[in-house]
Assembly symmetry: C2
């Protein structure tokens, strides 16, 4: 059998390592700035590809990512598998029951948010200048593709934004999610149809009509019979095969088989992977842990690899066309925001909420980029249009959060971890009673422009009136302080425990002094809630007591956030987006 | 950039799906028979490759696994990545501190168990007929390779066997594990040296001496500086990056980089991956969950893919040489068993235990197969020798468990799950008191050749004397029954709870009637212990109460076995082999 030479293995491994390292690093960086990690992952490819590295050190780039030979083939194989698994996860997030539960309104708003951008996109790109179309494609199919591309939404970005705003489980949150699911599902099926219209698939194995029928038939079968079969088989697999290997192997096998089938009929492999994901994710027998294992590997390994590899294919500077970027961006926003907003108004939503729905659904995220890449590879659009679609996808995703927040006058819920710094953490309190503990913690709280002695008095005064031992070994002394500009926390740990007069009679081990501005009525309560819920688990509290320094504390706190079971299902830590 | 055509994507996906599906299926099958899953995974390749499918339906085999073109290149890329990650996990299991803790004896037995097979192998294959050597290799290097191949042990098989016998944490268990770790480490370094002796690496980039120095230097650096650096960096990564993505991305990046480096200096990529694994696994900051996530993906996806792909390369019928197979098998067993056994005797171990150590270390498992494949690819051995090594690896692994069990007169600890069948599980007991519960459960217990009414009387009689409510909602009524051939359990669940007079005053919800033969003094106690430890977790007991049928019960019980934290570290569910 043909195989890679040792030198090719070296090149391949270095290429993958470079993409992964750069993708993860920039992905983390942009997340710190509150942006979706796909932005950083794409930037990684831009840095390593022709746009930056190719301009600065073309030899290095050509060594890492040669254009011909076995290495690009191997890399293409890895990224094709990666994107198929990414779509598997994206499909698993499509929760059909959420969509059905929201019923009439979801489908109404769903149609509005799909039809207007679709119509607008079709008209502009069919009758307008066929700018950005590649030479060999038909204008009709090009316009159909653009219409589809403009009408999808990015479920993961939307879910993440809603979570950040603490609105995921609110009525409007569930509605937006349901509509996004509808969009996703309809968008992918329409896109598959567009691909199938391109002369019956790449291989010309089937007539156009046959490919269309096969595509629809496969989608229908997977969403009915396939769903049912998978749901029936899973309990048996979990009972009789080793865990989680049985389910894991099964999931990947049917994903690859489904992907091979759709590729074979002439639409892209990822469409099959997506539908298998929908059918699989819908089963109530799929365990949370299996979901998480697939999710984590895909979100943190395959997704960065794939998105970084995109930047290798296109020069984002040379192919950046201001006019095209602006036109695509404006049409995309106009169609989606107006379409969704008006539909939401028609279904009786208040104005601000309706526009918030519009801006939320406007986020295109990773899905748009994948769609664009497939169109580029299929010869439907040229490089300039691909760049315009990528810019639009990232721009709309970055816009969604801030605008929704402003429209709904929501604040991101405050995390106490953001307020505990290296200087305001005392891993081993010396104090043996609660007043001394307060005196020990107030000076490190980082409160500025106030008299710390007075602050300590205020906290002690309040502690005397209302003891703040809350049980479970937690005490949260607190005062509202005149002249304090922003909330401050000093956190201390007492191994032997300090009596804070708590209702359960237990001494406190985790003590956080919370200082808030005098006119701020809510923050303290939010922080209380956050701290109590963070430390609600006994085993976790015990681990906290073992912490030796600030870095270890952060590491421990980071683990609990990522583990939060409710959040994991609906939005993996750094997903798709 | 060069890329795969749609038809090639279809072929590639089908090939991977076939390998994965067949590998997992046969892997599970042989596990049910108590054999290491690598045996089934290899069989999968034999079935899909030239040996079976190639003989029955050559066209189908050539379509799935073409010999030339882009598809085999893509498949080779995937399996090369897969085997590198497998070695990462194997390296992570090498616990240096366990080795050091066992100190003098471990290193003494380690030398014995390495040197004798090494010397024996070298002498036989250097002076004996150079049978199985490929034409182009030097006899010295061939003999050195054979000597190395005979002297390694398979840590995962050994760990799994010891766990099955309930001896992992015993003195002799820890000694065997420590010696196996020593063997693994020394074996791989020597093998890398043998590879480097082959004319300074494949690429002739370095002189032989340079490659040897680079190999030793890299190993030394990874085990000292590399270990220290990784341990220093991990807490920072866990504190500042998203979890577990930060660590996951980091681990895979350094694995690929280390692998690329060793491939570049002229020894195989997997050597670098293995050493990175050792350094990484040694860090006390590496979280259990990160370990498990990597482990599960590798054990259940990458390992089956890789081992199944081996069968594609060789015809195991045509290249099966009885003489060679017998010679290799006998020399391997003689050298290892005598070398380890005698060394253990010299360090003062009793005879039976010494030979048990010898047979335990005799298991070669997956490591031998990988070594053989590399030697085959490097042109060091021919197909017949490769087949002989594979047979030896599988044979010694299958032998280890039964022989150790007999020598140490150990029984596999009995699992109550093996005794609860579909017929002996009552998901909803009607009984409202303990005697009625016993009367309801005894008839379904499956006890044969005995009078069930008398059996029930005996259980009730004993229950009257010693109530069997054990607290935590569990009751285990029991009697030893004359004429009963083998132990029987009937398990019932009572949602409302039945008073079994338990010390904590709580009613019992999980009730298992345990019947054992009259002369069997130990089984009941073992089963007690197993049931209590299975249901020790409150959340798990609550899930048990929700179970609606036998399949769901099995699925639930399967999850707790796989999740058992202590076991997961030392032996992943279906590992390496």
């Amino acid at each position: 059998m043909a195989k890679l030479s040792p030198d090719e293995i070296v090149q391949l491994f270095l290429a993958v390592a470079a993409l992964l390292a750069m993708g993860r690093t920039l992905g983390e960086l942009v997340r710190k700035l509150g942006q979706p990690s796909v932005l950083g992952e794409m930037l990684a490819g831009i840095v390593l590809g022709p746009t930056v590295l190719g301009a600065l050190a073309p030899d290095a780039m050509h060594y890492l990512f040669p254009a011909a030979g076995n290495v690009p083939i191997a890399l293409d194989a890895l990224t094709t598998v990666a994107i198929s698994l990414f779509l598997l996860v994206a499909g698993m997030e499509v929760d059909l029951s959420t969509m059905f539960r929201q019923g009439r309104v979801a489908i109404g708003v769903g149609f509005g948010s799909t039809l207007l951008p679709f119509a607008l996109g079709f008209v502009v790109f069919y009758f307008g200048a066929a700018n950005g179309q590649s030479d060999q494609s038909s204008t009709l199919i090009f316009a159909l593709f653009m219409a589809t591309a403009l009408s999808i939404s990015a479920l993961p970005v939307i879910a993440k934004t809603l979570l950040d705003l603490g609105m995921y489980r609110s009525d409007i949150g569930m509605l937006i999610v349901a509509v996004a699911i509808f969009n996703d599902l309809v968008g992918w099926i329409v896109f598959a149809l567009v691909l199938s219209l391109m002369g019956g698939g790449h291989g010309h194995r089937f007539e156009v009509g046959e490919t269309v029928l096969l595509t629809l038939g496969f989608a229908a079968a997977m969403l009915t019979l396939g769903r049912w079969l998978i749901n029936a088989v899973l309990p048996w697999l979990q009972a009789h095969l080793s865990w989680p290997g049985g389910v894991l192997g099964f999931a990947l096998t049917i994903t690859l088989a489904g992907a091979a089938f759709t590729e074979w009929i002439g639409v892209h492999a990822i469409f099959g992977a997506f539908l298998v994901g929908v059918a699989l994710g819908d089963s109530q027998h799929l365990r949370e842990r299996t979901r998480t294992t697939i999710d984590q590997f895909v979100s943190f390994v395959f997704a960065p690899l794939f998105f970084a590899s995109i930047g290798l294919r296109v020069n984002f500077v040379a192919d950046f066309d201001w006019v095209l970027v602006t036109v695509v961006f404006l049409i995309a926003c106009a169609g989606k925001i107006i379409g969704s907003g008006v539909a939401a108004r028609l279904f009786g939503m208040p104005a601000r909420q309706s526009w918030a729905v519009g801006f939320g659904l406007n986020a295109r995220g990773a899905m748009e980029i994948i769609l664009g890449l497939l169109a580029l590879q299929a010869g439907l659009i040229d490089n300039r249009m691909f760049v315009a679609l990528v810019v639009m996808a990232l721009g709309t995703s970055m816009l969604a959060g801030p605008v929704m927040q402003r429209l709904l006058q929501r604040k991101k819920s405050r995390r106490f971890t953001a307020l505990v710094g290296a200087g305001s953490f005392v891993p081993e309190l010396r104090a043996t009673d609660r007043f001394k503990a307060i005196l020990e913690l107030v000076p490190v709280s980082g409160a500025k422009g106030v008299d710390l002695a007075k602050v300590a008095d205020a906290v002690i005064e309040r502690e005397r009136l209302i003891p703040t031992g809350l049980g479970n070994g937690i005490a949260l002394p607190h005062a509202r302080i005149k002249g304090l500009a922003s909330p401050q926390i000093a956190m201390g740990i007492s191994k032997q425990g300090i009596d804070f007069d708590s209702p359960d009679g237990e001494p406190a081990h985790i003590i956080c002094v919370i200082l808030t501005p005098e006119d701020d009525q809510n923050t303290a309560l939010e922080l209380y809630r956050d701290i109590l819920s963070t430390f609600k688990d006994k085993a976790f509290r015990e681990k906290t007591l073992q912490v030796k320094n600030y870095t270890e504390l952060l590491a421990l706190l980071a683990s609990v956030t990522a583990n939060h079971p409710g959040e994991a299902t609906i939005a993996p830590p750094a997903p798709a987006g």
